[in-house]
Structures are given as C-alpha cells and as structure tokens.
C-alpha cells in the first residue's frame, strides 16, 4: 500500500518528529488508539504514566528542564479532564506544553457519546490556545501552529482536540511550515524610547534593585542579567521561578523576595529608589499590600506580554519585549552607578538577618534541603511540590544555575513534584542528579507515578518530607486561626519506605538530624534506579520570614509570634 495516504494519526506522529520531539508522556484509551498505534512505528519514546495529570506535569517538567515543548497524549473524556490541572499549571507558569487529547468521532460531537467531553470548551480559560480539528487535512498546519504558539512569545499550553475519525481517516494535505495566525504577535525588542527612558531613570538611581523573574530564565537572559547587575553594581532579588537565573551565591544576590523571602531582599524592596522587574509579573506573593509596595521608588518593567503592562501596578517605564533582547538594548546605555553605600547596606542586612532555622528538636526539612545542597554543591536539578518544604527549598537550596529549580509557582499545584521530576529526568542532559522534594500531602496526590520512575529505572532522588500534616495550612491555622486545626492531620500516611519497596524502589529513612548526611550521601550515590528517602520531620515547624497575605512588607514576621495575629486580608 505504498501509495495510500497517511492516516491523520501518522501525520501527527510525523509532525512530532519534525518538531524534534523524541519523548512524550501519555495514557491511552478508546479514542486515542489510532495515535498510540501509529506511534509504535516511530522512534518516539512514549512514557506510559499512571494518570493523565502525571503526564501533563511530566511534559511540563520536561519543558522547564529542556526549554523545548513537552508533549502529553491522552484519550477523550476523563483522560482529557484529568489533564486540566496540568494545563492550568503550565499556563500559570508560562511553560510550553502541547496536549494531544483524543475525542469521540465528529458525528458524535455534542451527542453525549461515550467518553465524549467538550475538551476544548472546558479548557478555553486554561490554555494559551487550542484547536478542535474536524478535518484531517488541517492537521499539518494545526500541528505546526500549536508548537509555534506553545514555545514562542510568552510560552504556554496548547491543546489539540482530536476526534477519532480525524486521526483514523486519511490526510492528503502536505506537511507545511505555513501558518495562518494573523492575530498572533511576538514582541522582540522594546521600543528605543522606552529603553532610553529606563536608562535615564537608572542613571539617577542611588539605590536600584533588580527583580528577576521566570521571564528572564525563559528568554535565556541569565548572562545579561549578571552583566547588568555587575555593570550597575546593583543588588538582585529573584522570584521563586526566577531563582537560579542570577546566582544565589553572587555577592549582589539577595535571594528570593516576597511572602517567604529573605529579610534582606524585602528590606531592599522597602528601601530601594528604583526597582526593575525583568520578566516578573508583580505577583501578590511578591508585592504584599500593593499601595505601599515600593511606594516611592521608580518602577520599571520588562515583559514580553503586553497585557502585563499595568495589570498589577502602573510602572514608570514599560519595556515590552523579550527579556534578553531588551537587556541587550539597555546594557550599552548604562554604566556604573554610585551605589557603593547601598550595596554595603544590603550586605550588612545579609549579615544581620541571615536565613536560619532552629537546630533543637526533631529532624528539620530545612536541614535536609541544606544538606542536599551542600553535598551536591548545588549542582542538582531540583523540583518541588507545594507547601512549606517548597519555601524551604527556595530558601536553603543554593540555586546558581538557570533551569535548575522547577516549582509550581503561579498555580501552587500539589502533586507537581514527583511527575515534574520524572519529566525533568527524561530531559536532563546536565549529568547532575535529579531530585524532588515533596511534602507528605502533595506526594500522595501523584505517588502512583512511582511506577513510571521504577519502570524506566530513572535515578531520581525522591525526598518525602513527612510531618504528617498539611504543614502550610496548619501554619496559617496556628498563626491566624487560634490554632484551630481543621483537616490538616495526615493521619493514615503509609510507611513510605515500604511503599517504595512495593514498587521495587529503594527506600531509605531519616529520623534524626544526625543521620541525614549519611543517608543522603547513600541516596546520591545510588544510581541503579529511583530512591525514595522518607524523612520523618518535626511535626510543627513554621516557615519564616513571613509576610501575611495582603499585608505590607513592613509587617514581616521573622519568628514564631507570641500572640495571636489578625486573619490575613489577602488571598490564600
């Protein structure tokens, strides 16, 4: 049958190859069978997950690690709905993924057919763009556009809804590089006028502060950020997703700012006379109460997304463009500033208010993170789940390299840690160990993916930091709700070592701080497959510093308060 046309499914697989995709994550089902059939004849590796949410987080982790587009392939109905959390997570953190979701046949659309769900309709609000393909001949163009949209500009998730008759039927349209996207614009350089204005403000600044976000990392602006900081002699703070874009160990680094940021970063925010956001979107976790955030400082904002201008606050200068290109425009226009005094002040805060944690009591999550950071000399790929441990990773892991730390920032998706770690491991070319830090709550949301890690013998290190509580919620109930603990007790947690062993995974245990270094060393040296380290941690520990949600930065709390605090006014 040499002359018979390719099926829609075969065209999709060929398009994946043309996009340079060699690994995808998926879970089959009735409507998806034509695509899973076609992929057998390709050299694309399909990682069979245990849940479609896992597939999307893996695609996301792979994308964050490699900078390439991650792909998830799932079936219709529940297969598709299970991807929604992953799609939304990718949208909130501007991560490029393409979700290929199978669908019932086109004549069945709208008729409540078996496993039919209005996938594109239900995901409109969570995607960068989406397609419902009704004609096989549209496939080459749609695939081309989907990958282009996912990876370019401000990256994000693209969903393709693929009816079974479209994938099973013949496609006679040729492969194409042509796209039909008249409404899609990708900013590159900012207007000269805006950059010149920014340079003027910088020249007048005595106390400048650079704020580095995920956008800087995505655009690959790490070198330019460093060059700008050093050229100006300006301190730098990072958002959670910006960590690593500027080395934490650099003398100008103030680490992470915001709700659980360092005292010195937040003091710098309060005291600076100019703040330049490079690919950060002034998230509420960073600004706290808006009308006092950098109240008297000049605010400048570089963002590739024009809709970010004025969304949260009105900047004095908005430079719309790719962070790397805009910094290249800005660099020749600026020189060393008179900031010696300011840098000295920031450095004295660093000495006076270092990040610390109590050494007495049981095993501390901070101690685990610190030890892993020390033993790997910070040369590791790290993913986190969401909660207290996530903040402690941000505080105590020495991130010095871009694309080193992957965390669900905007969405705060519990269950992200393990699957994103698996995805990152598939994309990892650094030779460094790939590690995930999870809490006991989030880990259990996607722990079925232990099987995925085991089958592929991925040498990932899974730290389950178990305090038998939903720690962050418990912390809020402790501090703001009269210690009335409601539904935070994780009674019923399994023995995670035994759980690992049930999957044929090496399980290790840390109960005492004194054992941490030895066990972690053992875990790092084990490379036959995954290893799970069950850390039985101090039950009631709180993350500090903390700025209560919606409060001004001046309300920063640095240690357990003696009295009950007002309920926070901000969201979550």
């Amino acid at each position: 049958m040499a002359n018979s046309p390719l099926s829609g499914a075969e065209v999709i697989i060929e398009c994946l190859k043309r996009e340079g995709i060699d690994t995808i994550f998926g879970y089959p089902g009735g409507s998806a069978i034509p695509m899973f059939d076609a992929i057998l004849d390709s050299n694309i590796k399909v990682v069979l997950t245990r849940h479609e949410q896992g597939a999307t987080h893996m695609a996301d982790g792979y994308a964050r690690q490699t900078g390439k587009v991650g792909v998830a392939l799932v079936t219709s109905g529940p297969g598709a709905t299970n991807t929604f959390t992953g799609i939304y997570t990718a949208l909130m953190d501007s991560s490029p993924i393409v979700v290929l979701a199978a669908q019932t046949t086109t004549p069945n659309l709208g008729k409540d057919a078996f496993q039919e769900c209005d996938t594109s309709g239900m995901t409109f609000a969570a995607v960068k763009h989406s397609y419902l393909v009704k004609d096989s001949n549209d496939l080459p163009r749609v695939m081309k556009e989907a990958f282009h949209i996912a990876r370019s500009g401000r990256p994000g998730p693209v969903l393709i809804d693929l009816p079974k008759d479209v994938t099973a039927g013949p496609c006679t349209a040729p492969f194409t590089d042509k796209m039909d996207l008249p409404g899609y614009k990708i900013p590159s350089y900012a207007s000269t006028e805006s950059v010149e204005k920014a340079a003027e403000y910088l020249k007048k600044s005595k106390k400048p502060l650079l704020l580095v976000g995920h956008g800087a990392m995505i655009s690959g602006a790490s070198r330019q950020v460093k060059e700008l900081a050093e050229k100006l002699n300006a301190p730098v703070c990072c958002t959670l997703l910006g960590l690593g874009t500027f080395p934490t160990d650099h003398e100008l680094s103030l680490g992470m700012l915001g709700m659980h940021g360092t005292v010195y970063a937040n003091k710098a925010v309060l005291d600076c006379d100019l703040i330049l956001s490079i690919g950060s979107r002034w998230d509420d976790r960073i600004t706290g109460k808006l009308d006092v955030f950098c109240k008297d400082a000049i605010k400048m904002h570089i963002d590739i997304d024009p809709a970010e201008e004025g969304k949260v606050l009105q900047p004095d200068v908005f430079m719309c463009g790719d962070a790397k290109l805009v910094l290249e425009q800005l660099l020749p226009l600026v020189g060393k500033l008179d900031t010696a005094e300011w840098v000295k002040t920031c450095q004295s805060w660093k000495k006076r208010f270092p990040l610390t944690y109590p050494k007495q009591g049981g095993l501390r999550m901070q101690h685990i993170v610190q030890t892993v950071s020390d033993l790997t000399q910070g040369k590791a790929i790290v993913t986190t789940d969401v909660g207290q441990h996530q903040m402690w990773v941000a505080q105590f892991f020495h991130t010095n390299y871009p694309r080193q730390l992957h965390s669900s920032g905007g969405a705060g998706t519990m269950g992200f840690g393990l699957p994103s770690c698996i995805g990152a491991a598939f994309g990892n070319t650094t030779g460094w160990p790939v590690i995930t830090f999870c809490g006991d709550g989030g880990f259990q949301m996607t722990e079925a993916e232990l099987a995925t890690a085991a089958i592929h013998k991925l040498p990932i290190k899974i730290f389950v930091m178990d305090n038998k509580y939903l720690g962050m919620v418990r912390q809020w109930q402790d501090m703001f709700y009269d210690k009335r603990y409601s539904c935070v007790d994780m009674k019923g947690n399994p023995d995670f070592v035994k759980l690992a062993e049930a999957y044929g995974i090496l399980g290790l245990r840390i109960k005492r701080s004194a054992d941490a270094e030895r066990v972690i060393q053992k875990a790092l040296e084990y490379n036959e497959g995954p290893v799970l380290i069950h850390c039985e941690c101090e039950k009631e520990d709180n993350v500090f510093p903390m700025i209560p949600a919606g409060a001004p930065i001046t309300s920063m709390i640095t240690e357990q308060p003696k009295t009950q605090l007002e309920k926070p006014t901000g969201s979550t």
Binding site: S120, F124, S130, L132, P182, G183, Y184, P306, A307
Partner: protein, 165 residues
C-alpha cells in the same frame, strides 16, 4: 478610580468557531457583563468584526482590551469610547394602541425619522435607527403608550474618514 461608563470596544477577529467564547471568557472571569454585542463578517470572509459595549471600571476595561488583543484569534482590539466614530443602533418597538392613538405615535415617529414596519388594529411596530441616545428618547416617549416588546441590535461602529475602524 475613574467613574464607570459604557465603553465601545471594536474587535477584528479570525472567523473561527470558539472565538466568541474566548472573548466572552475575558469578561466573565472578572464578573464583567457584555451589554451588547454585534458580530458580522468583514469584506474578507476569513475575519469578523465585533462591537462590544461593556460597563465597568475604565482601568479594568483597558486591561480587558489588552487581554483580548493577546488572544491568538484576535487581530486587533480597540477602545472607541471617545473617538470620532459613527455609532448606530437599530431598535424595534412594539406598541399597543387604539386607532385614535395612532396619529400621535406617527407624529413622534416622523420627528425621529422612525418607520412603521407593522400595523394591526391594536398594535404597531416601530423601527428606529440612530445613536443610542436617540433610541432611548423615542422609547421613553412611547412609554406613555403600552410597549409590548422591544429589541435593539447593539451598536455598530465605524470610524469617520478613510481610517479603518
């Protein structure tokens, strides 16, 4: 905070299924309502023109317009609230009336250049075109009689002169 007023937003969009939902979601996620909506194909059938009227905080509406512009299927989004544009609406107003009330109604229609498009022994349908204020005024004058039913198209907008809307 500026005061809320009606904004006229004009969109040029790809003529594809789902576009309207994507646009509506940008409003609904903030709990904003669309007061009126007109959609029609342009000279090029690959594109449609939409005119949306919405009330709300002007700063938030500006943000909404930027987020509309960001949609892949939206080619252009513009606020025409204070621009020099021709703005027209068409309304049909059904009035219950006795034969001896007709003369007065017809006089009103004449004054507003409105037409009678249906007449029975007990009712009339009046068609009026013009700017929103004109339609509002005729409607309020007709309230003296019994308005049985009333529908309007929503605003269509076109910039004056050669400039494209």
């Amino acid at each position: 905070m500026l005061k809320d007023k009606a904004h006229s937003i004009s969109l040029l969009v790809a003529n594809r299924p789902g576009v309207l939902v994507r646009i509506a979601l940008v409003f609904s996620r903030r709990g904003y309502n669309i007061d009126s909506l007109v959609v029609s194909p342009t000279l090029d059938p690959n594109f449609s023109r939409m005119n949306i009227i919405a009330h709300g905080n002007p700063e938030i509406l500006m943000q909404i317009i930027k987020q509309l512009e960001k949609l892949v299927d939206v080619v252009q989004a513009k606020d025409h609230t204070d621009t020099d544009a021709v703005e027209k609406e068409l309304a049909l107003i059904k009035v219950r009336c006795t034969p001896d009330q007709r003369t007065e109604i017809l006089q009103l229609c004449d004054h507003f250049h409105a037409n009678t498009v249906d007449m029975t022994a007990t009712s009339m349908i009046i068609q009026i075109t013009g700017n929103s204020q004109k339609v509002d005024t005729l409607k309020s004058l007709l309230q003296k009689f019994e308005i049985v039913e009333y529908i309007r198209t929503g605003k269509v907008i076109m910039l004056r002169g050669e400039e494209q809307t």
